[in-house]
């Protein structure tokens, strides 16, 4: 590197990534230890999901695909808890299943967290909620679930035959689903294709923020009814159901850490522009 390549403007463009990572970690810790409590405006996508959940009647079957993994647990889990809280308050029956291999692990973790609430609402496993476990096959499996759930599942996660489960005696295919939601980091399009496009089942999606720009046109066209945008969406849902939790804390982290990203973007661009001017 020549002395011409070692100016202050070059240094601004080549700040070691370790510095950025360290500052990012610090920027996450600060708002978690002393929350900022910034207001959380409700997006129309979250509002439509909430309004749709509000239409649930006692006894309606609400299908939840627990398809997230440990990586996205930080925002999918609060979203799952807030939505389940709302559905239980409306008296809906919960049929939960997974088409991702980590789903059963995530279910066990989250169900232990909401078990006291389910118990207090008088929900009994097998009568008011059930978990069918994981099935392989991805979109092919979804198509099979929509046409005949018994072609994919013969027992629940714990080995009880479906016919011996009270709740499942009246659940056979898409006609018995009032609405469904997928908590996913995979392919939300496949749920919409197999349930909404094929059979018109009301479909909601809770995906990571990185997938939202791809999936948003399907919400705008009405193919997806409700769309939760990662941690921000989960926080909005927590606010709407009146149970602020981990996702609300996350939004402070987003706000604070984004400031660091902005700062580094500006610093890098200043270096780039000034270096260009020096060459001129």
């Amino acid at each position: 590197m020549t002395s011409e390549d070692n100016t202050i403007w070059d240094k601004l463009q080549t700040i070691p990534r370790e510095v950025l990572y360290l500052l990012m970690i610090i920027s996450m810790i600060i708002p978690l230890l002393s929350p900022l409590g910034l207001p959380i405006p409700i997006s129309p996508q979250t509002r439509t999901l909430y309004d749709s959940l509000d239409t649930l009647q006692p006894g309606d079957v609400f299908v939840q695909f627990v398809d997230y993994s440990a990586g996205s647990m930080s925002f999918h889990e609060p979203g799952f808890i807030a939505i389940t809280y709302k559905a239980v308050n409306k008296g809906a029956k919960l049929v939960m299943l997974s088409s991702s291999v980590e789903g059963p692990m995530m279910y066990e973790i989250v169900i232990n967290k909401i078990k006291p609430f389910l118990d207090s609402a008088g929900y009994v496993y097998g009568e008011d909620y059930v978990y069918l476990g994981y099935t392989a096959g991805e979109e092919t499996a979804l198509a099979a679930i929509a046409s005949n759930i018994r072609s994919v599942y013969t027992t629940d996660q714990y080995g009880t035959p479906l016919d011996d489960i009270t709740l499942m005696q009246s659940v056979n295919n898409h006609e018995d689903f009032t609405m469904l939601i997928s908590y996913t980091m995979g392919s939300p399009e496949s749920f919409v294709r197999q349930f909404n496009t094929q059979y018109g089942v009301t479909t909601h999606i809770h995906c990571g923020e990185m997938m939202t720009p791809t999936i948003l046109p399907f919400w705008a066209s009405g193919q997806i009814t409700g769309l939760l945008n990662g941690g921000v969406g989960a926080a909005e849902m927590e606010v709407l159901v009146g149970r602020p939790g981990d996702a609300v804390k996350l939004t402070d982290v987003y706000s604070f850490s984004n400031l660091i990203v902005f700062a580094f973007l500006i610093i890098g661009n200043i270096g780039f522009i000034m270096k260009g001017r020096m060459k001129e």
């Binding site: 970690i25 996450m28 994981y134």
Partner: protein
């Protein structure tokens, strides 16, 4: 108060170990990485076996002879490891690809094509709708390669529209990139919350 649960300490160790990879490659990070992959692979095998057992083998045991077909096709996939019989594995592969394509395609045209085009025709009664329609048209102009008008009176404004289309797409890609960053922040923030609240008991 700091946790006394050994499982929490193990999780904290792996979280910190894998985080150190961002700063420098080291044995602790490698150990965490390999442990994660091994656990993931183990979980995958258990889940796959459970699935085969639940649907295939138990179905066969109950007298459903048709279950022999997917089971045999599954076994046939392993002939890939034999140079002599590798051709056998092509049949189950072809079947899987065929079914997968068929299932996906049956809703594809309506889902991603016709309904999206229909939704493009919006009433021009709000700024958002006008901006949406203008963006669609301008971006489409950017992708018109076959039309190169020689008349400068047409070529010049078309060039401006095409450039505007490029900038609008860049804005969309920028939004996607920003969303990716925020997703990663959210994912890692979950681990920081675990360390602060569950491990160190600071919450």
């Amino acid at each position: 108060m700091i946790s006394t649960d050994p499982s929490i300490w193990i999780m904290a160790f792996f979280t910190i170990a894998i985080t150190t990879l961002a700063f420098r490659d080291n044995p602790a990070a490698k150990f965490a990485e390999h442990t994660f992959l091994a656990a993931q692979a183990g979980n995958f095998v258990v889940m796959a076996w459970r699935n085969i057992n639940q649907i295939g083998i138990s179905g066969l045991a109950k007298g459903s002879i048709i279950m022999l077909i997917p089971l045999l096709f599954g076994v046939a996939l392993y002939t890939r490891y034999s140079k002599r019989y590798i051709w056998v594995s092509r049949y189950p592969t072809a079947l899987m690809v065929g079914i997968g394509t068929g299932v996906t395609v049956r809703g594809f045209v309506e889902f991603q094509f016709t309904q999206q085009i229909v939704d493009t025709f919006k009433p021009m009664n709000s700024f958002n709708n006008v901006f949406f329609v203008v963006t669609v048209v301008v971006c489409l102009v950017y992708f018109v390669y076959s039309l190169t008008p020689q008349n400068p009176a047409i070529a010049k404004p078309l060039g401006y529209i095409s450039t505007a289309g490029r900038y609008l797409m860049m804005m969309a890609f920028g939004a996607s990139m920003a969303n990716t960053v925020i997703t990663r922040v959210g994912q890692y923030a979950g681990r920081i919350m675990f360390l602060l609240y569950d491990w160190l008991g600071l919450g």
